[in-house]
Each structure stands twice: as structure tokens, then as C-alpha cells.
Symmetry: C2
Subunit: 131 residues, 2 copies
DNA sequence: CTCTGACTTGAACCGCGGTTCAAGTCAAGG
DNA sequence: CCTTGACTTGAACCGCGGTTCAAGTCAGAG
């Protein structure tokens, strides 16, 4: 069993963030030693999942619903499929953004935003949003 | 020239958001008609760029610095190259997240989070973060 | 048994990205 | 000229994702 400081150290989160996640029902301590929380080591992989989801743009509330999901929850399935499509769109955006950044890091236009190649990227993005 | 309501309509933002962006120096009206802002149509493509950057996880402050960039700003170039690498990592994360979501939408594990295929995804993510 | 210092709680606060509100201005139509 | 209603301002407020603080508890070392 791990205490909160150990979980914090291994997960890279602060104790206050862990308590905050608990209030939002993302994690639960395995038990207490007096007042002090003690955690199963498995909490660490759950925290990794949470971290990954957060950095993919899910809110805390979404993650909580998701973690509580059971296979019968058809509505949630639909939401997940929706989210998968959203994520796909974001992947395209990010891909263009990465290409633009790479170009911008070498481009000599002044100001950089006026670079025609750069502008084309966003024209493409706009076209895709409509089409 | 467009008035603020027209820019709002065409960009999908609210007038208050446009004024907020102005305070943060993301956009500037071309002039005023009395007190009322009037905008060049070009502001719309700038707003699309801003929107794209926002949805790629840039903060308002980052975007402001970026929009003001000139080719001599070597520090900014480095930051952009860094950011390109960060974005690349995020693309990988999102790709895994999309795959997981697609799987989860059909998976029958109860609870869904306990699905081994699902867990593998995050184990992969963890491994990649180290390597 | 006493002390210490890491833990506990709830409540207040923070920065971000805006929105909402009250009060005032003013361009355009009648 | 008068009204109207879309604009203007600054200031207060919002939800999110936490952090910080004050006050209290208590496990374990000495």
C-alpha cells in the first residue's frame, strides 16, 4: 500500500490534486490508516489513463463518467463514438499545426503570419471544416 | 469594412470574445466609426488561425507572441520547433485515444476500463513516454 | 509520554478564457 | 430633432482545474 506522498511522487501529481481527483470521483483510496489515505499500487495506472485522457482534451467530468462506464450504458457508447470522431478531427488539425510550426521555424517571412505557405494551411483547414 | 456583429456572425465568436481578443492583442480593428469598431475582412482568416491554434492547445498568450513574431526572433523559432515536437507527441496520444474509444464503443468488458486491450493502450503510452 | 511533521479537512483563492452587467454613447431612420 | 437599439466601457462574475491556507489529527520516532 502506498501513502499519498508516494502516489504523488510516482504519478508526478501533487497530493492536493489527488484529493481533488478523489472528490471528483476519479480515484478512491483503498482504505485509511487512521485518517491517512492508503492506495493500491493500481491507482498509478489509473492515474496514467486519467493523465492521457486529460491531455487528449477530456474534462474531469467526462473522465469520471467514462471510468464509471459499464457495457450496458448505450448512451455512453454513443458519446464515446462521437468523441472518437472529434478526436480524429483534432488529429488532422494538429497534424497541420505541426507542419506549419515546422515550416515557420525556418520561414523568413516578415511577419511570419504573412507567409503564403502558412496561410494555405489554414485555408485548407477552413475548406475541410466546410466540406 | 465589417462591424463587430458581422465579424462575430462570420467567425462564430461572440462580440465580447472579439473585444477580449483585442485586449490580449490577438486582433486589432482597422479603425472606428465613432466609437464603433470596424474590421478589415482579413480579420476573419486571422480568427480562423487563432481558433485552430486554440484547439491545438496553444494559450492566448502564446498565440499573441506568435502572431507578433518576426523572422529575426530566434528564440521564438526555437519555441516553435519545441512546440512542433510537443504537438507530435500529442498526435500520438490522440491517435491511441481514438483507437481506444473506437474499441470501447464495442467492447463488452465490465467495467470498460478493465478491458485488457484498453489497458494495453495505456501501457504502450507509458512505455513511449519513458523511451 | 511527548513531540514532530506529514497527514487531514473545508474554505478561500488562483489563472485562464471568456460572459454578463450597468451605465453610457451615438449612427441611422422616421 | 428625437428615438431606438446596437454599440461602447470597465468591473464583476463564471466554470474549470486545481493550489493554498488555517486549523486540527495522529503515527511513529525518541
Amino acid at each position: 500500500m502506498l501513502d499519498i506522498a508516494e502516489v504523488a511522487r510516482q504519478s508526478g501529481l501533487t497530493p492536493s490534486a489527488l484529493r481533488f481527483y478523489e472528490r471528483r470521483e476519479l480515484i478512491t483510496p483503498a482504505g485509511r490508516n487512521g485518517l491517512r489515505r492508503k492506495y493500491h499500487p493500481e491507482v498509478l495506472s489509473r492515474l496514467m489513463l486519467i493523465d492521457c485522457a486529460r491531455s487528449c482534451g477530456f474534462t474531469i467530468a467526462e473522465i469520471a463518467r467514462f471510468l464509471a462506464a459499464r457495457p450496458r450504458d448505450e448512451e455512453l457508447r454513443l458519446r464515446m463514438a462521437d468523441k472518437a470522431r472529434e478526436v480524429d478531427v483534432r488529429i488532422d488539425q494538429l497534424t497541420r499545426m505541426r507542419d506549419s510550426l515546422q515550416h515557420a521555424a525556418f520561414c523568413t517571412h516578415d511577419p511570419l503570419v504573412e507567409c503564403p505557405e502558412f496561410k494555405r494551411t489554414f485555408a485548407d483547414a477552413a475548406r475541410e471544416e466546410k466540406g
